[in-house]
């Protein structure tokens, strides 16, 4: 029971389902398939940057520049499309931008030794500034509207974009599960010294985490532009904190070493669903952030209490074990003494 409760992904998933059914008692419209599909659809952007963020948090880092990276990648994507590049090539440009921006963070953190929060705060400003310089501060419109076909085309009533992200997430999950090097993210976050002593390349692992974070922000940019068909200057604004909240909610410890892709997926779904539920309950949108924050705090505190209970039980068991061993020893030695005295 304890172990099941300790699976945070499951806990949040149950809460998500529970929340939807609870709201359904007030408003049946929530349970319409279209509503649920829309929630998933609008969570895609957050989901992708959260998956990237997961790698960084897992290795005990933090990346607050992902929103800016998504914005910058969206601008490059828009430019590429407007320049008449074919869609696959334009997508590649967006992904390359994201990966390169992530790699810059990685160089600062891994090789220069700047704390992740400082480095990525710096690049958050730099990338946003760069985005403004490139566009002169104006939105990129007039993007060929064929880009929206991904978002509009539906297969089994579900937008093609959702299918694409679902496939991507499953591929990442399988890779993380099957590829040995993927386990290095956990090892480095859990105990970096131990990982080094076992011959794991700690620097390469952390470098990969930041680069992947950028890469997924680039992918998120493609989804974003595909869904709305233009690039506003606010693209990705504030999403970095939401992404961190999503992965923490889903069970990636800020101390590193825990969490899965599903943490990011379920965390992003949950935060997006909270926003939608507010609408169905006719709560003004201004409440969204406050409610999402309260839910996040509640779950994290609950989780901490469970972990602390388990930990204290282990310590108590160890102390009892030591005491028992010592008592046995004393009994044995006093028995020998009695025997010696008798003989």
């Amino acid at each position: 029971m304890m172990r099941l409760l300790k699976s945070r992904e499951l806990l949040v998933l149950i809460l998500l389902v529970g929340m939807i059914f609870a709201v359904a008692t007030q408003n049946h419209a929530v349970l319409r398939p279209l509503t649920l599909i829309n929630i998933v659809n609008s969570s895609l952007f957050l989901m992708l940057i959260a998956v990237g963020q997961m790698f960084v948090v897992q290795t005990r880092g933090i990346d607050v520049s992902v929103g800016a990276i998504a914005g910058l990648s969206a601008v490059i994507f828009g430019f590429a499309l407007n320049a008449g590049l074919p869609l696959p090539l334009a997508m590649l440009c967006a992904l390359a931008t994201g990966a390169a921006a992530g790699a810059v963070n990685a160089v600062g953190v891994v090789f220069v030794g700047i704390p992740p929060i400082i480095m990525t705060l710096g690049t958050l400003g730099a990338y946003r500034g760069f985005m403004r310089v490139l566009t002169g501060g104006s939105w990129i419109e007039s993007i060929p509207q064929s880009i929206k076909s991904f978002a509009v085309t539906r297969y089994l009533h579900v937008p093609l974009m959702v299918w694409a992200v679902a496939v991507l997430v499953i591929v990442v999950a399988v890779l993380l599960w099957r590829v040995r090097a993927a386990r290095n993210f956990y090892a480095v976050g859990d105990n970096a010294d131990g990982a080094y002593l076992l011959g794991i390349n700690v620097k390469a692992t952390r470098f990969a985490a930041f680069t992947l974070s950028g890469l997924f922000a680039g992918a998120a940019a493609i989804v974003f532009v595909g869904q709305i068909g233009f690039v506003p200057m606010q693209t990705g604004n504030g999403q970095e904190l939401k992404a961190i909240a999503a992965v923490v909610l889903g069970g990636v410890s800020l101390m590193g070493g825990t969490g899965t892709v599903w943490s990011a997926v379920i965390g992003a779904l949950f935060l997006t669903a909270v926003d939608s539920m507010m609408i169905f309950l006719h709560v003004p949108g201004s409440w969204n952030n406050a409610v999402a924050g309260a839910v996040l705090l509640g779950i994290v505190v609950f989780d901490y209490l469970i972990r602390r209970t388990v930990h204290n039980r282990q310590l108590a068991a160890r102390a009892a074990e030591m005491r028992r061993a010592e008592a046995d020893q004393e009994r044995a030695s006093s028995a020998t003494k009695t025997r010696e005295m008798a003989s």
Partner: protein, 499 residues
């Protein structure tokens, strides 16, 4: 079990190691043969850990050669030592608490995953690691964590295992089963470098014992020819001359009530600790790493709040323990690790010193002039070398940093002071200054508790000696402060004064 005619698995040939003009190792020759357990002994600063780090690839020697199987090698990092069949089991096992036991075992291994898992299960069964392989590593007991480290080494086909203080946090039964594992390993031709403070275990488990002092070996003989007393004698500092009985005058105030009484204090790493400290007296507490000495000091000072028992400071029972309450009642504590807990490296030294007053009730404001007056008083009294009171501690030597920590501790004019490893990492001159400061404190009627793993230090400063061993505190007979007896009791030697 051993045959010295074979080629050693690992050999050090004429190893020297110099750190920034401090020579730590002076021409070390050392071998580990197949099937041999070679114990390495030595006090703090003898160079023991440097030897281990050179063999395990963490340090490169300044001069001399490391040979593996008779061939000179250069070991740049731990993974290169692993590739040569050398694996170090650290005192604190490196466990990934969130990964499964199986992943803990196989992390970083090359080769087929299923094959690694199969080998890990086979080796774990052989070595007696009987746990749920899918449970998280954080749930393993210390003994099993050590077995995980040993299996990691065996999975890397290690021929040489370095066991660094493997028994320090184990129960007696766990030690016995570890000894059985070691026999099992040596029977397969694996060589073991064994490091321990517990002399009886060293004599029981090893084939050969080498004692290190000041960077060279002073003794290296088969264990069967040695007694614990011989080992204690070999470990003592060469220049150590026991202070003449009359030279050491105790300032203990006759008939006064104790300034510190500890009654039935029990915590995680120690239990039922009882002792008292009288004004003007230096009580030395001798204990090896892992004996519970730091844990119990932290419990007295209220850092560990889960301990149970009574602490009476200057005749008053502490209502509840916290560092703030202890300081207000007249108890100060100098922690073992000054960088982590004792000093504010970036602040001006004057502010670090005056920070000692912050927990006192009353005065909440202090003018800069007052602060400097306070700081200058201590700078003169403790002979701290500073260009100005505004100089930050970061730029100071270890000895001067420690004096600033002492000044901070003494600023609230405590009735009793606990000093944990007060001279760790400072030079001989500063060490003498610290001893002088301790003497001056007792002359003022302050009670002093010195906790140390260096028996020479305990012998030098103490009026009365207590021994901390496996979480229990025992006293040496009144008036005994000779270094031989303290060593024998601390290191668990047979025939020594019992604790």
């Amino acid at each position: 079990m051993q045959s010295e005619s074979k080629t050693p698995l690992v050999a050090l040939r004429g190893i020297w190691k110099v750190f920034e003009s401090v020579t730590v190792l002076r021409g070390i020759d050392f071998e580990i043969y197949p099937g041999q357990v070679h114990a390495l002994l030595g006090g703090n600063g003898s160079g023991k850990s440097t030897i281990v780090k050179i063999i395990s690839g963490a340090y490169k020697p300044t001069a001399g050669a490391v040979e593996v199987g008779g061939v000179p090698v250069a070991l740049g990092k731990p993974s290169e030592a692993h590739a040569k069949g050398i694996y170090m089991v650290p005192q604190e096992p490196h466990i990934f608490p969130n990964l499964t036991v199986l992943e803990n075992l196989t992390m970083g291994l090359a080769g087929e995953r299923a094959e690694n898992a199969r080998r890990a299960e086979k080796l774990a069964a052989e070595i007696g690691l009987e746990v749920d392989f899918s449970a998280p590593g954080g749930e393993l007991s210390i003994a099993n964590q050590q077995l995980v480290e040993i299996v990691r080494g065996l999975l890397r086909n290690a021929h040489v295992l370095i066991l660094d203080e493997p028994t320090s946090s184990l129960t007696r039964r766990e030690v016995a089963s570890l000894a059985a594992e070691v026999k099992h390993l040596t029977a397969q031709g694996i060589g073991i470098l064994f490091i321990s403070h517990r002399l009886n275990e060293v004599l029981e488990m090893s084939d050969r014992v080498s004692v290190l002092r000041d960077g060279h070996f002073v003794l290296s003989r088969p264990a069967s020819e040695l007694t614990a007393d011989q080992l204690v004698e070999a470990m003592l500092p060469e220049d150590f001359t026991p202070p003449a009985a009359d030279a050491k005058t105790s300032c203990k105030v006759a008939g006064a009530a104790p300034v510190l009484e500890v009654k039935g204090l029990s915590g995680r790493a120690f239990r039922d600790v009882n002792f008292e400290v009288y004004p003007g007296e230096v009580v030395g507490i001798s204990g090896v790493v892992g004996s519970g000495r730091t844990e119990f000091a932290e419990a007295i000072f209220g850092i560990d709040t889960e301990a149970t028992g009574e602490v009476i400071i200057a005749g008053k029972t502490a209502p509840e323990r916290s560092p703030q309450i202890c300081q207000q009642m007249g108890l100060s504590y100098v922690p073992e690790d000054r960088h982590a807990h004792g000093i504010f490296l970036a602040l001006p030294s004057a502010q670090t010193i005056s920070s000692g007053l912050m927990s006192l009730p009353g005065a909440r404001f202090m003018s800069e002039a007052e602060e400097h007056k306070l700081a200058n008083g201590f700078i003169d009294r403790l002979r701290i070398k500073l260009s100005s009171p505004m100089q930050s501690a970061k730029t100071l030597s270890g000895g001067n940093q420690q004096k600033i920590v002492l000044a901070k501790t003494l600023a609230p004019a405590p009735r009793v002071v606990i000093l944990d490893e007060p001279t760790r990492g400072i030079d001989a001159r500063a060490r003498q200054d610290v001893y002088r400061i301790i003497r001056e404190l007792t002359a003022d009627g302050v009670g002093v508790v010195v906790i140390s793993s260096e028996v020479g230090e305990i012998a030098e400063v103490s009026d009365r000696v207590l021994i901390m061993k496996r979480g229990r505190l025992g006293a040496l007979p009144e008036g005994i402060t000779a270094v031989e007896q303290i060593s024998a009791a601390t290191f668990d030697a047979k025939g020594g004064a019992g604790a």
